[in-house]
Symmetry: C3
Subunit: 346 residues, 3 copies
């Protein structure tokens, strides 16, 4: 298995989950999601306990779902409320599997594994997506690759030069040294560029001339998020690697959810603490980011196909790949930890 099961995964943007059911397969399990009248989210196995028709094809009635095949009605707790024949006594042992679900940082999260362990405190801390004084928006790609290839991609920004040569690629970035560091279930790849000329995007954001300190700090959060702290501050304003709100700052946000071993859901966006009320800026940036990430999608799907077509070869890691390597080590360790004892003993 290539993914951790006892973990919170993003099932969708808050805006994607509404009163009508949304079907999405997470870690190999078909699920469906809808909002109750109080707007909290219900997550169920997407198969009627009667004859397995996807419940996402059903009709939501108040906070319940009625299967479109024979009309079995299930409450938001997954328990039968009405049999196909209304005259039949309700058998409350009939139920569909439900999943722990939470809404935080603009996303709907679902816990795939053992429900008793689903502690909302374990939701990855994507604070820039929901903090006061920050604006956040983004989009979604359904991508035919292992989610770990996305993590590799995002933890190593040297690919920008080649994959994004026509958009955001900047060869000078390659010259700055990087520092890779593991802290618990997090990995940080830090690039600090003191006293440089600001590139056009950041110059426009800063709205001031003069040399800047610039940073790119990639942070992997298990099971599968990467947020990248980016920005510039005027030289002498006091920005440091640890603390840098003196200029303009944003986070590139990427959350990957495995659908299967070779298909993933990719949620991406940008959070920023400058010009937060400029909705035009938000919309323009989202359109640009969508185009840049479409370039990654093309590369990553080709990479996945090549991995399948060359089963005798292995991925190799160089210096630049240390961020992805460390992230994969954390994932592998957590998979081992949650394995049944007998398996772990092998």
């Amino acid at each position: 298995m290539t993914f951790i099961r006892n973990a919170w995964y993003v099932a969708g943007w808050d805006s994607e989950v509404d009163r009508a059911p949304l079907a999405r397969t997470i870690c190999g399990t078909p699920m469906m999601f809808y909002r109750k009248l109080d707007r909290t989210v219900v997550a169920m196995r997407d198969a009627c306990p009667h004859r397995m028709l996807p419940l996402s094809m059903g009709i939501r009635e108040d906070d319940s779902i009625r299967c479109r095949y024979h009309g079995l009605r299930l409450g938001p707790d997954g328990v039968a409320e009405e049999m196909p024949l209304k005259s039949d006594a309700v058998n409350t042992r009939i139920c569909v599997e439900t999943f722990a679900v939470a809404e935080r940082h603009r996303f709907v999260w679902v816990w795939v594994g053992e429900k008793a362990l689903a502690d909302p405190a374990l939701i990855p801390d994507l604070w820039p997506c929901s903090a006061e004084g920050w604006a956040f928006d983004g989009g979604y790609y359904h991508i035919a690759c292992d989610y770990r290839l996305l993590i590799d991609n995002l933890m190593d920004l040297t690919h920008e030069t080649h994959v994004h040569s026509g958009s955001i690629g900047q060869p000078e970035l390659m010259e700055a040294p990087i520092d890779t560091r593991v802290e618990g279930d997090k990995v940080f790849v830090t690039r600090w560029m003191p006293g440089v000329d600001a590139p056009p995007f950041w110059r426009g954001a800063l709205k001031k001339p003069g040399p800047v300190d610039r940073w790119q700090i990639c942070e992997f959060l298990a099971p599968s998020a990467v947020i990248i702290d980016v920005g510039v501050a005027p030289v002498g304003a006091g920005a440091t690697v640890e603390q840098h709100d003196q200029g303009v700052r944003g986070f590139v946000v990427d959350v990957m959810t495995p659908e299967s071993e070779t298909v993933s859901h990719y949620f991406w966006g940008m959070a920023r603490s400058f010009d937060v009320d400029d909705v035009g800026f938000t919309a323009r940036f989202k359109r640009q980011q969508s185009g840049v990430f479409a370039e990654d999608v093309e590369i990553l799907e080709a990479q996945q196909q090549a991995i399948l077509a060359n089963p005798d070869l292995r991925l190799n890691a160089y210096n630049i790949d240390q961020g992805g390597v460390r992230a994969r080590q954390i994932i592998a360790r957590k998979i081992r930890e949650q394995a049944p004892v007998q398996e772990a003993a092998e």
Copy 2:
């Protein structure tokens, strides 16, 4: 294996099989069918005994078939009549597998298993399709589901309320009690509704006002047909569950033939004993029925996909499913009975 092999299956409508070969895979076996000059039907394995090109791509010459690759000519008995090189002596040990075939009730039937057991008396008795004083017509769907899901569907008409809510669904049907009964290789699900108001379709067929007795009697015939006796008779005319030709009566006819474990041929139609010469009625009804069954096709294919996507789950049966459950029990028993002794002993 999910289907009985020693059984007659519908290979096609009588109108589908003509002088030009028709290719159709039945129970996993590629077959081809054509009519001889005397209009009887030939059924052969759809692979030339020489280099396996489908014989259905060949050219029929009189009652024989000539392969389009090298010209091997086979008679309607499957035996070689001419070699690829005409000058070569004919080797009559060269032959293609042929299948027992029969034409009855407007369908062409083929016996898939042991040829010696192919007794035409075993053809399911779809008498309304061919009886004097009855009109019968219908159509064909190629559907990506296990044929037994179709049987389940047809043996339980409660699904009409939800699947066909926009067409023939009638919630009041759900209130009438049903009776499920097994007789040999047949299963009957009977719903008798005495003294009710006739729905519009039956009122128009009856052409009389006043309360009616109404019935729906689903009959499963092994290996895989379901015919549904439907109609109304004026109250007091003497109609009973056993005998009910006092009003207007029809049969919804459904015959399912497995192509593989997850793909089926679905032949459907309507036989009726009223207005039998009204060809406009026949055509209009067929068009309507085609639309209704297309609603089932959508549901059944989604159900099949859900079964494959949720391998840890099982279909469950409630009261309403007893007809399908009994039909599946008969199928399973007949599969066991025809299994070789050593397999059965396991």
Copy 3:
């Protein structure tokens, strides 16, 4: 395995391989090909040794290739020349697999197996494709069948009557006796037709009236080429089976390269020693030949599908199939010979 690995296979027409990389999977191995500035051809595994992105998506720089993902640059010998971070020291143990390649007879050839055994002297002798005084042109089909079905097809021209009945089929050809003969790794199927009337194509080529001696000599060359010596000479001019340049002569050239067990690359053409400077004739003939071979593609793909759909059946061989049978025996023997000792010992 159904193909010989220690052998030269055609990877492409000389005109297909240029400065930009060409991707083609040969015997199950993804490869890519490009020309250096000196026009010699480089063949590499189509997967970057770093993260496996197809190198065919990369950018050729001088004689090297730069991966489009992280920019690893590999020389034409497959060895790393520049790391993704230019500042990183080059690790020359990083390299991609390269393949022995040669250009001959208008084709680019690649040796799939053990590189040390790649002797250009083993390239099949398709001399009419490159001999002085001969003109040669042709095309390419990607065809979904086992390459051996193509060999069977070409070593038995009786199929022309049926497959090409609308184009080149000539029933009279079937009446001439054929002679099948094995010589080392070659198989010859010879049809000599003395004193016959020339068919229209050959009459037009000969530009003379009167009876002719006519021939068709199919030659299989391991691992997978078939060239067919065809033509006519005036009766009495002295043409023999061994020597027949007295009239007009051509070679139908067919080279098959396995992509997988059920997909092949098919390179076909016509070489001729008459009207060699008539480029209009060359173009018209190529267009006609393309249409004829498209008829074979349809048949062969249907045959492959039938083989997969009828796993209980076997291909059978008659007299006319001896050419293909002998060719397959040579292929099977060479596969056995190159198998590791332990496998061969089983």
